[in-house]
Amino acid sequence: MGRVIVILVMAEEKWQEADFLRKEIESRGCKAVILDMGLLGNPQGLCDITREEVISLSGQDAKEVALITDRGKRMPVMVDGAIQKVRELYSEGNIDGIISIGGTTGTQMGTSIMKSLPFGVPKFAISSTASLPAFASRYIGTSDITLMHSVVEIAGLDNLMRNVLARAAGAICGMVEGSASVPISLPGKGEKPLVAMTHFGPCEECAVSVRRQLEERGYQVIGFSAAGIGDRAMEAMIERQNLFGAVIDLAPGGVGEELLGFARAAGPTRLEAAGKKGIPQIIAPCGVNWGSPLKRKYKPEYELRKKYDYDAVRTFIRLSEEELIVVANAIADKLNKARGPVKVLIPLGGWSSFDRRGTEFHEPELDRVFVDQLKKKLRQDIEVREVDADLEAPEFAQAMVKAFHEVVGT
């Protein structure tokens, strides 16, 4: 049998387009299955997975659902039911890729459903609202979804729409074939594990050096940008898929940014997944002593602090003593729950490329407030190791690698 691609569609509105997509997919040798995630109004044609089946899988009573006349209230029912269905198909080996067609509502639901499939299963959304400000982050979040802007409204099979759908069919079929020929290959028993590492601009030298040293030893290092999305993605991948054997968290600033409502906020569970899974963690504090407030939430008081304009869109301000204590408490709470080994390394010569010793931003007394509070709150068996170098110095990268080997082995 050919590989199976599930098409997610609200069949009361866009069945025709789904049917065209089905034919395009099947002309390329894959099998297509239409799942109706429709809300109100009758489907315009036959669907392989009917709305009734989806509702029954949602666990809600069909009679009660029939009484819901509010579109918005039907959405979670259809999303829940469809997630059950695609997970079932996945566990039986009956889904190789997934594609949705929609405007705002259809893309919102379709991408929520796709997110329930593991990293690596091709996921593709055709959306007329892909390019609206801030919509892409809502649709994609931390997952490996591919988003195609349809440009024209998805309302009828005109020539432009057929072109868009044909390209989308080609793309998802191409992805499905590609992912079948190179499946994700994880290291086997006795091989070096995959290492997840967070970093961002101000610790680039450290990241490059740590990566090189570990790669020389045969480890593979997967980088995640600690800008609020990549680091969330790392947490989600640790939580849901057993991919990583260790974590090097160079830039856990997303914890404080989350608490303070700043731009790089990395979600309430940042710094928790590895501990929950018992995976070893080596942690450095790059950027933890800085915050990046959103421009529209700028308080007058921030103007009085030391600030560093990183680029045209990002300005960092120094955190206050009170804020550093709040952040230290939160980090300690999270690490205290860890079921695996944890080491925290503190570079005494500054925590990033722009607040290293000798710069006007180096404020060791302030940094000390954080370190003392962290030590006070952390479990006794979690070591806080102070290193007399700045974070970007080769000595610090070496210290990170040494700590890594102490915990993970060589």
Partner: protein, 404 residues
């Protein structure tokens, strides 16, 4: 010469990844042209179009640029150079599709090249910043964004999956792309959530006459896309039922980000167009908190979390002036068709924003301001009435037939 896939990236920092992509695309039977937009170091894999060549095509000198060390200047030159190189390949019919990978800067460069190419050429951008606000990158174009999830540094089981998906997507797209074949029968129409259903009523009427209709969601981005595609010569005529974006633009409302071309392209290019005042009865805001103090106390409609505020005489006069300016000196037939019974689902007898007196004021202002070449007709019905759609279709058809 067989068409190839143009592969764009910084070969200094992402050479390994680009070499891998090339190999994966070639294994599937497509030729690849790599174009190096790196400006920092030396390429770590061979480039078909070198960084020096790109800089030159962008009007710069690579070694000079490098010694200058001004990042934004360098990026500007490389963008221009890459656009010129891509245009050259396209004009020689050597370009099957474009694939690019990058972080923030790489995405800015890759998508700038993609935006410069016509609709229908497959465009795939693998980006670490795909899950942010992509409107500056994608804009009004048919660009597909693949979220890289991880940093595109090094080849490992995670990055290989992302790169394989990208190779699969571009190869699948170029192999399967139906040709955009518009002939002379494609009509563009605008629609909008709370606005009239005129477009849907017009569709079967147009089809009876042998046309096809494409709908644009007049939400700001949709209006921009419409103007661009009119500019590319795709349409035989335009039914611009929903001009609501002009009202939102006055207060930077929900659909207000439309630039200065909205409504102007068809008249400028001589494409027949019918304009109606769909949705000009209201200004829509994201939420009640966004409504300016000045507008508080007006008639209001709660849509979902969004709210629609009734437009005033003074605002409609400004809109009438804008319309008149943008439709001035048309090079083709332009008609304005005004329904006297209301302009949206919330502007009709008994609805929250219904106010025929203000609407009348707008019609009189338009009559006064419109250039003589533009004719204005009034119809005694609501904008969603079948009669209105029929008259619009018949008028447009007449314009198109007369020209032929």
């Amino acid at each position: 010469m067989a068409k190839k896939i143009l592969l764009i990236g910084t070969l200094d920092s992402k050479g390994r990844e680009i070499a891998y992509l090339r190999q994966r695309v070639e294994e599937r039977g497509w030729g690849v042209i790599t174009l190096d937009v790196g400006t920092l170091g030396n390429p770590t894999c061979p480039a078909d179009i070198s960084q020096q060549e790109v800089a030159k095509a962008g009007g710069g000198d690579f070694s000079q640029m490098k010694s200058k060390g001004d990042r934004s200047y360098s990026v500007g030159i490389m963008i221009q150079g890459a656009i010129n190189k891509a245009a050259e390949l396209y004009s020689h019919k050597e370009l099957a599709g474009v694939l690019a990978i990058g972080g923030g800067t790489g995405t800015a460069i890759g998508t700038a090249v993609m935006r410069s190419l016509p609709l229908g050429i497959p465009k795939v951008m693998v980006s670490t910043v795909a899950s942010r606000d992509v409107s500056p990158y994608v804009g009004t174009r048919d660009i597909t964004m693949i979220h890289a999830v991880v940093d595109l540094v090094g080849l490992n089981p995670i990055t290989r999956v992302i790169l394989d998906n990208a190779a699969g997507a571009i190869v699948g797209m170029v192999a399967g792309a139906a040709v955009v074949n518009v002939g002379r029968s494609l009509i563009a129409a605008t629609s909008f959530g709370i606005s009239p259903i005129s477009a849907e009523l017009a569709r079967p009427l147009l089809e009876e006459k042998g046309y096809e209709m494409v709908t644009f969601h007049a939400n700001g981005m949709g209006g921009r896309a419409l103007e661009e595609l009119i500019g590319q010569g795709l349409f035989a005529g335009v039914l611009d039922f929903v001009t609501h974006e002009l009202a939102d633009q006055l207060y930077n409302g929900y659909c207000g980000d439309i630039g200065t071309d909205r409504l102007a392209t068809a008249a400028r290019r001589g494409v027949p167009i019918i304009v109606a005042p769909g949705g000009l009865d209201c200004i829509v805001f994201n939420s009640i908190d966004d409504v300016p103090d000045k507008l508080k106390g007006r008639k209001l409609h709660h849509h979902d979390i969004r709210v629609a505020v009734r437009t005033s005489e003074e605002e409609l006069e400004r809109i009438a002036m804008t319309m008149a300016q943008r439709l001035a000196h048309p090079r083709g037939p332009v008609g304005v068709l005004i329904p006297l019974g209301g302009w949206s689902e919330v502007d009709k007898v008994g609805a929250a924003l219904f106010d025929p007196r203000i609407d009348r004021f707008f019609v009189d202002a338009l009559k006064r301001l419109l250039p003589p070449e533009v004719s204005l007709k009034e119809v005694e019905c609501h904008i969603s009435a079948p009669k209105f759609a029929r008259l619009a279709v018949e008028w447009l058809d007449e314009m198109i037939c007369t020209r032929r």
